[in-house]
């Protein structure tokens, strides 16, 4: 199988330009972030932060200093509220399962929306096997959560509500502050969790302003290294450990702290926040250039998610009718443009993105969807290159679709 992949890679040789827009699924790590991490692998602070020797104390000092910065970016009261996990998936697992463990005597009801990330969806499915129930609130055609429904659904049995701050696929910015207020008014014992992985570094997000109890942050979504994420746990909120082992500087996640990754994540955060407004404006400008350009040059397309200020500044998600998404990702890749699709073309019955289905897209529209995210590192020329390549790719694949009726 790997021989096949070597051949696939050979087909990419000699590309004039490459534009990576698949930030949703992984990202490169900028040189300045890697540089910040390197000394912590071999020069200093590579000890275990709980041990009584120089390298351990260096590690402890480093982790505490870095965590102060992260706490500041997130608007936390103190560093103890920051819990590092190996990523967004693990942070969401800790938030949901850890809360279910600690609140199980108070109730069994968990409330999420129809468009939560896969990790949240799958964890709630797991919890159903252990007697918890999941109620999903609906979203409108732009992916906005229905607050009236939330108010009706949250009751005394509700131990946890988990709603992402920005939808990862279609970029809808959710009214998290209002949602949290509604939840607390209906049941002050309910824990409010938000996956803020697509909000952090993209929209103003401070945990204190949003009054949330738990918040998930992913490192690679702000171009930090993979393998690290954060679960913010508000002081006084009881979340139980879901893994057991040697406890070090953090109570909620056992194992040896990964100092270089913490440094890398902090560095990526600094870069995102040192000129937050400038970065956001840049992402938004490129986002709008990309969306505008596609609508101008490609017929029969649909924007998934809201427009303008209601949309995350980096998110572009477009359905190309009569063009299947997986084929389009391959076609674009061969031209050096790297994106992902909401088509899940790996089953006999291909179930496309649950988010696109929830906002009312037909299956055939969801199968032809492409997700792209802009960053502060992308240039106007990158977008122009995409706008040059994409219409040709869509046209060729539509030519293969031909007169096949797909509507």
């Amino acid at each position: 199988m790997v021989e096949n992949v070597k051949e696939l890679l050979r087909a990419h040789e000699g590309l004039k330009r490459e534009v990576y827009l698949d930030i949703e699924n992984s990202s490169w790590v900028p040189e300045e972030v890697v540089k910040a991490m390197l000394p912590f692998y071999g020069e200093r602070a590579y000890g275990n932060p709980t041990l009584t020797h120089k390298l351990g104390w260096e590690a402890f000092e480093t982790i505490m200093e870095e965590t102060k910065k992260v706490a500041n970016f997130l608007g936390c009261k103190n560093v103890e509220e920051i819990n590092y996990t190996p990523g967004e998936t693990e942070a969401n697992n800790l938030a949901l399962i850890g809360t279910a463990f600690s609140k199980k005597s108070l109730g069994k009801k968990i409330v999420i929306s129809e468009i939560e990330p896969i990790s949240v969806l799958h964890v709630t499915e797991l919890l159903q096997k252990y007697g918890f129930t999941t109620t999903k609130i609906s979203v409108d055609r732009e992916g906005l959560i229905n607050l009236e429904e939330l108010e009706k659904i949250v009751d005394k049995e509700t131990i946890l509500v988990s709603l992402s701050a920005v939808n990862n696929e279609i970029g809808t910015i959710q009214p998290i502050k209002e949602a949290c207020k509604i939840v607390k008014e209906k049941n002050s014992e309910s824990i409010f969790h938000t996956d803020a992985s697509d909000a952090y570094g993209k929209i103003p997000f401070k945990v204190q302003d949003f009054c949330v109890d738990l918040a998930t942050i992913s490192s690679y979504k702000i171009l930090g290294p993979r393998g690290i994420g954060v679960l913010y746990v508000k002081e006084g909120v009881g979340v139980e450990r879901i893994l057991e082992g040697q406890i070090g500087t953090q109570k909620l996640w056992p194992g040896v702290e990964n100092t270089p990754l913490i440094v890398g994540f902090t560095k990526a955060s600094e870069l995102a926040f040192q000129d937050f407004r400038g970065n956001v404006n840049h992402m938004r400008k490129l986002r709008d250039k990309l969306i505008g350009g596609i609508f101008e040059r490609v017929p029969d397309v649909k924007l998934n998610g809201p427009k303008g200020e209601k949309r995350a500044p980096d998110n572009v998600n477009i359905s190309f009718l009569r063009c299947e998404g997986e084929a389009l990702t391959i076609e674009l890749s061969l031209s050096g443009v790297y994106v992902s699709s909401g088509s899940a073309c790996t089953r006999r019955l291909l179930q496309p993105s649950h988010v696109l289905v929830a906002i009312g897209r037909r299956f055939e529209e969801a199968h032809g969807s492409i997700l792209m995210k802009t960053t502060r590192y992308h240039q106007e020329e990158d977008i122009e290159y995409v706008l040059d390549v994409l219409p040709k790719a869509v046209e060729r694949l539509r030519g293969i679709t031909g007169t096949t009726r797909v509507d």
Binding site: H122, S343, R348, E364, I400, G402
Partner: protein
């Protein structure tokens, strides 16, 4: 909702990039469709059949992934110049082998391509009002699978519409 790696082989990639016998055939003797856009794949075959019941030309149109395009394309090459009886004997396994193998989750693409071909052959005889001995009345494996996939898609689309109206 799970994802798996899709290490397509060079033959599939080549056929994806340069499919053979692509496009609608205006003077086709018969055409048939398999799949449903809701499943993410749909194939149409066009066959030009002569009086000796030999496929003179075949072409296709395909809405689908790379495996879908590659298997459709190879089927048109495999059946060109063959008798309908021989074309009927083609199985999805042979098609999968002919493209150099497929990731197992993509086997259904080959099944669908052969399903469309067999439907076209069946339709040809139905139009003609004939029924050769080798053509079994019972649907072939590929035709059954195609039908099943289409019905699942219809069911899901229907359920979605109902949910949309709530």
């Amino acid at each position: 909702m799970s994802r798996i790696p899709l290490p397509y082989n060079p033959k599939v990639l080549e056929l994806f990039r340069n499919p053979k016998n692509l496009g609608k055939m205006d003077d086709a003797t018969v055409s048939a469709v398999a799949g449903n856009p809701a499943c993410g794949d749909m194939i149409t075959f066009y066959l030009k059949i002569n009086e000796e019941e030999v496929i003179e030309r075949a072409s296709f149109e395909s809405y689908g992934c790379a495996a879908n395009i590659a298997t459709s394309s190879i089927v048109t090459e495999m059946i060109k110049g063959t008798s309908l009886e021989d074309a009927w004997k083609i199985s999805w396994k042979r098609v999968t082998e002919a493209v150099g193998g497929l990731p197992s989750v993509k086997f259904h693409c080959g099944v669908l391509a052969v399903g469309a071909l067999k439907r076209a052959i069946r339709k040809y005889y139905k139009n003609k009002g004939a029924s050769p001995e080798w053509l079994e009345e019972e649907l072939s494996f590929e035709e059954k699978q195609a039908l099943e996939e289409e019905e699942l898609a219809k069911m899901l689309s229907k359920r979605m519409k109902l949910e949309g109206e709530k």
